[in-house]
């Protein structure tokens, strides 16, 4: 250890270190131009000159390469040092007057125009580039010439093969003398290009050392061995000099790890279809033809354009954008993907709507499609809204995209529904590419010995939707079939449940208990508040002036730390916050970001990790309540953000740490509804070892499945259903209650108590979780003369005829199916999802029984999503005639002389045609079994269509926002058997996440009485909807007769607090002084 004096202070450094290194550690700033941490110092620029007193005299040395020695005295800030640096800057500026870096330095040193002759160079001969090139193990460039002739050059001033165009020289050049263009044009013969970022779909470059995307798990950087210079030359390793914890090891090799597992879940996902092979779309050649995945990135705030809607050729805002549907889907001519990719219609509409939102002008969005498939929950509404917002929907498949010569625009020709040919120009065209299975996944499936479908998806059975053909291996997500997020999430939970069922005995045998971070006691401490302001990409920062709000927060009382984050919820930010809270010893935290309703738990987790009680926290909502709703008024929005931050700070200062109560979870489950999904949920729960009560209002199990003839795969539903019922009845962990209704619900997650009423008999049941599977029913149509003629049936009634093997079905000359009866209309604006497939399947069944029967399907859009599309193709090939109509131009049915005549306007012929039918099948809508009492019992919501509203449309499809209550089947939304079964299992899976914990923590924000003030009036006891307050027993030793509040039952609503006449109740976390603080802080600005 060497000790010396730096600016009069004693500092220490290691033998062999240079002054600069020690100064940096000691926090003394010395300017540098030619220094780089990873390179040997060269002392080229001399701007780091410092004053050195060696005991006898004073000299000037360069700090970057002067080794330290015992007893030396260094001064970095003297007048002489400054004068020297000023002269250097002046000379460099004279040499390179246009370099911004030097211009800024000159400004700093107060230099106007240099006294020396101005030259027109940009290179300051710092030698960073040549030293870096050497470090790369390459030496393609060096300093050539001597004296004034000296310059950076390649050997013989020729473009060289030696240069790998790695760009290291350009990355260190401080003046911009070496650029990527220069490397491409002057230095290298190999041509330089960016490493395409996979996350940004190649629209942006990335480094060889990179984190795939901000939310990646694990969130640690990786080195891309294919492009890292070290793996080419053995040189570089610059990254190692920057890593503070020596985490980088270039010698690591791939290793094979063997794991002993009881089951495997495959979730390899899909790859987006590559449209390059379609020459006629010019995707590979024209920058303004992009894929939908690229469009997603362009619309994203964290994307390559920062969320600004621009086209790629000239970065101008497009005025007209077109989407082409079914690119790489439903296409056997130009690719092999005959299936429908299920998700593209919806994402195209979403992109169009978001693009219109992003554009501050009237953007024209047109979607070219074949059938609009918005069969998901609330999707049809979104489609209707998009139409209302002016998105154009054009039913036409466009063959060719032509570049318009002399511009970056694109021209297309298409045929309208009326048969007219139209030529239209667009600024940008988005190809809605389909989903397909990666060839590597196909290879993996082959290795595992798993059967695939014709579309290369994992083969599964309708009644076992997540089981692969190999026992113990399960599948979820788009590998099981093209599907959207909610369905993938349902599958994922179902697969987890399937794996859990076979591994139920092994549960908790490998559990490791996480380290519990001890809570710091902050009681009595002066508040030290940290304020973190989130930019949320551009969602907040695009409107609110975030730095201003952040700095403003710094002026507020007790605020000790301020910062702003790009995405506060990103995992790396969370870790940084944890560190900051510890380092700065913060004891209160405010996050100004989005809504506490979704993100409070996340940040509270961060507090817990930092050893703080999670209630020492307040969020203020400057996104949902501010930037998003005042986007045209940035000044007011910024002012509002400041007010909200001030209110939050004043409240959080008064927050106290709150304890949480622990509660046992009753290990019994209740399933309401004995249809397919309810039975599946019960079976899953029982298979995982939980006692389950299955209640059914009817007199037998099976629900709607009893009336369905066969599955798409051709299995008879009756047989499979019988197997399932038999299993349920034979499992003694499942108690079946038929003809039974739930007539009361008390309690809360983990300890519910209900009355089951079956006729006159009443039974009490205690349970920990409940699954709602109340199902749905087929609409009884009120149109098309339904009920007036035995030849006019609903789809289920036709199924019943098939099941009875009605001989009359073979004698039909002409059968007509009418689709969307009661669905997709103003009073019921949702798609019933299953009817297209069902009708087509039944049409084929009729054809099978009598190939001479003329079968017509009158439809609006055929929605045979996924691999159901094959059925549609098969039906067309079998001669089923499809005739499309609009909602405004429905088929007309009349009965004349005992003949059923149907008139429909054919979309190809554009004229009305009449069909005489012997059989009419109405594809009637699926209605939920509306159950308002259940909704009230469990405090769960119903939507406008009377389906239950799940916790989260995408991420929580099988559970309610109410803790401990879960959802599956038709009560959630219309769905076919395989999806109902998957969701049944998913709801069980979600329920088991609670049951398996055995105990849960309740909230700390509960009410508390102060018995000394309580007047025992009883208002709180009678007013509480959750029965939390009660009187302390009259014979109690302390506070007899006063009110007390059970923290487990208390939901923290505060009703008792407001109604307490004596002021004896306080609500922790929302105490009077805390709310008053907010009020006072709010009005402070008036």
């Amino acid at each position: 250890m060497i000790t010396f004096k730096l600016n009069g202070k004693t500092v220490q450094g290691e033998e062999g270190q240079y002054i600069l290194q020690v100064a940096e550690k000691a926090g003394v700033e010395i300017p540098t131009l030619c220094h780089h941490k990873a390179l040997e110092p060269a002392g080229m620029c001399r701007i780091c000159t410092v004053e050195l007193f060696d005991g006898r005299r004073t000299r000037f040395v360069t700090a970057c390469n002067y080794p330290i020695w015992e007893g030396m005295e260094v001064k970095t800030d003297t007048e002489a040092v400054h004068a020297g640096r000023k002269l250097i800057v002046e000379m460099l500026l004279a040499r390179c007057p246009e370099v911004p870096l030097l211009q800024n330095l000159a400004k700093e040193y107060g230099i106007g125009t240099p006294r020396f002759k101005l030259e027109n160079d940009t290179c300051i001969l710092c030698g960073l580039c040549t030293r870096m090139c050497e470090k790369m193990g390459n030496s393609a460039i060096s300093l050539t010439g001597r004296g004034v002739e000296m310059k950076v050059d390649t050997p013989f001033h020729l473009q060289t093969d030696v240069c790998m165009a790695c760009g290291a020289c350009a990355s260190v050049c401080p003046t911009g003398h070496i650029t990527l263009e220069k490397i491409r044009e002057v230095i290298s013969r190999r041509g330089s290009r960016l490493i395409p970022s996979e996350y940004d779909m190649g629209l942006k470059g990335r480094k060889p050392v990179y984190v795939p995307y901000a939310q990646a798990v694990p969130n640690t950087p990786a080195i891309d061995r294919d492009v890292c210079v070290h793996f080419k030359t053995g040189g570089c390793q610059v990254c190692t000099s920057f890593c503070g914890v020596d985490a980088i090891d270039h010698t690591m090799e791939d290793e094979i790890v063997e794991l002993d597992v009881g089951s495997i879940i495959l979730a390899p996902g899909f790859e987006p279809f590559d449209p390059s092979k379609f020459d006629s779309y010019n995707y590979a050649k024209h920058p303004n033809v992009i894929t939908s995945m690229e469009m997603e990135r362009i619309l994203s705030a964290s994307g390559p354009t920062g969320g600004h809607l621009v086209r790629l050729s000239d970065h101008k805002e497009p005025k007209k954008i077109a989407w082409f549907q079914c690119v790489g889907s439903r296409d056997l001519n130009r690719c092999d993907n005959a299936y429908c990719s299920s998700v593209c219609c919806m994402y195209a509409i979403k992109e169009a709507v978001i693009a219109k939102e992003h554009a501050p002008y009237d953007l024209d969005c047109a979607i070219f499609f074949m059938d609009m498939r918005t069969h998901g929950k609330d999707f049809e509404r979104f489609y209707d809204n998009a139409k209302a917002k002016g998105v154009r929907f054009i039913r036409s498949r466009v063959h060719t995209i032509d570049p318009v010569p002399g511009s970056d625009d694109l021209s297309i020709r298409y045929i309208t529904e009326k048969g007219e040919t139209v030529t239209e120009m667009f600024d940008q065209i988005v190809l809605s590419i389909g989903l397909q299975t990666d060839p590597e996944v196909v290879a993996m499936a082959n290795r595992l010995g798993i059967e695939l479908t014709p579309g290369n998806f994992c083969k599964t059975d309708t009644f076992m939707p997540v089981e692969t053909s190999r026992k113990g291996i399960y599948v979820c997500g788009a590998f099981q079939g093209p599907k959207d997020i909610p369905q993938s999430v349902v599958d994922a939970s179902a697969a987890a449940s399937a794996a859990g069922e076979i591994l139920a005995e092994a549960r908790n045998t490998l559990t490791k208990i996480p380290e519990i971070i001890p809570e710091t006691n902050v009681i009595g401490e002066r508040p030290r508040i940290g304020v973190f302001v989130c930019r949320c990409g551009i969602n907040i920062a695009g409107v609110v002036n975030v730095p201003e709000v952040r700095d403003y927060a710094g002026t507020l009382p007790y605020v000790e730390y301020i910062s702003d984050n790009l995405y506060s919820c990103a995992q790396d930010t969370q870790e940084t916050m944890t560190q900051i809270i510890k380092q700065k010893k913060l004891n209160r935290v405010v996050v100004a970001a989005c809504t506490p309703k979704t993100h409070e738990p996340l940040f509270q987790e961060t507090l817990i990790n930092a050893g703080l009680n999670k209630y020492l926290f307040e969020m203020c909502n400057i996104r949902n309540h501010d930037s998003w709703v005042h986007k045209n008024n940035p000044d007011l929005a910024t002012q509002k953000a400041k007010d909200l931050v001030r209110m939050a700070v004043s409240k959080v200062a008064l927050m106290q740490p709150l304890p949480e109560a622990e509660l046992n979870v009753n290990q019994t489950a209740l399933v309401i509804g004995g249809g397919i999904s309810g039975m599946t949920a019960a079976k899953s729960l029982a298979n995982q070892g939980y006692e389950t009560h299955l209640i059914e209002a009817g007199d037998r199990l099976g629900g709607n499945a009893r009336r369905i003839f066969k599955t798409v795969a051709g299995d008879l539903v009756k047989d499979k259903l019988a197997e399932l019922v038999q299993h349920i009845e034979g499992d003694d962990r499942i108690k079946i209650h038929l003809n039974t209704r739930l007539t009361s619900v008390e309690g809360f997650v983990g300890s519910f108590k209900s009355t089951l009423t079956a006729g006159d008999s009443i039974e009490e049941l205690e349970y920990g979780v409940a699954v709602v599977a109340t199902g749905g029913t087929a609409l009884k149509p009120e149109e098309y003369s339904y009920g007036q003629d035995p030849r006019i049936l609903t789809s289920l009634e036709l199924d019943e005829k098939f099941m009875a093997d009605d001989p009359g079905l073979k004698k039909i000359n002409s059968a007509v199916f009418i689709q969307c009866v009661g669905s997709r209309q103003p009073d019921r604006p949702y798609c019933s999802r299953v009817c297209c497939t069902h009708s087509i399947d039944n049409a084929l069944e009729l054809k099978k029984r009598n190939p001479d029967t003329d079968v017509f399907i009158l439809y609006r859009d055929i929605r045979t999503y996924g691999e159901r599309e094959y059925l549609y193709k098969e039906a067309r090939e079998a001669g089923v005639i499809f005739i499309r109509h609009d909602r405004d131009n429905k088929p007309q049915l009349r009965i004349e002389d005992d003949r059923i005549r149907i008139t429909v306007t054919d979309h190809v012929l554009q004229r009305p045609m009449e069909i005489t039918a012997d059989l009419v099948t109405l594809a009637s809508a699926i209605l939920p079994n509306k159950d308002e009492s259940l909704a009230q019992f469990f405090k769960v919501p119903l939507n406008d269509d009377n389906f239950f509203v799940e916790k989260h449309a995408k991420l929580g499809p099988s559970e309610f926002a109410t803790d401990g209550v879960f959802l599956c089947g038709l009560a959630h939304y219309p769905k076919p058997i395989d999806e109902a079964i998957a969701q049944g299992r998913a709801s069980a899976s979600r329920a088991i996440t609670l049951l398996a914990k055995k105990t849960i923590n309740t909230s700390g924000t509960v009410a508390e009485t102060e018995p000394a003030i309580c007047s025992s009036c009883g208002v709180c006891v009678s007013i509480c909807p959750y029965s939390a307050p009660s009187f302390i027993a009259a014979d109690a030793r302390m506070h007899a007769g006063k009110a007390q509040i059970n923290p487990v039952l208390c939901k923290g609503c505060g009703l008792c607090v407001a109604s307490c006449r004596s002021g004896a109740i306080r609500l922790k976390g929302f105490d009077n002084d805390q709310i008053f603080a907010q009020i006072f802080a709010m009005t402070e600005a008036v």
Binding site: V629, P941, N943, V949, V1086
Partner: protein
């Protein structure tokens, strides 16, 4: 309220479900308009504020 010299329009109550964002916006607009119509609140501000 009126007894204390506060215009009744300064205190508003409403009931909006979490799904009724349109209603929320409507009510915000109405309340703001009504309050704008009656002007600033200066009857009941505490003395210190008046001095300031």
């Amino acid at each position: 309220m009126e007894l204390m010299g506060i215009e009744p329009d300064r205190l508003h109550f409403s009931w909006i479900s979490s799904a009724e964002s349109t209603k929320f916006v409507k009510v915000v607009k109405e309340v703001t308009e009504k309050v704008k119509a009656i002007g600033p609140n200066n009857h009941f501000i505490k003395d210190t504020a008046k001095v300031a």
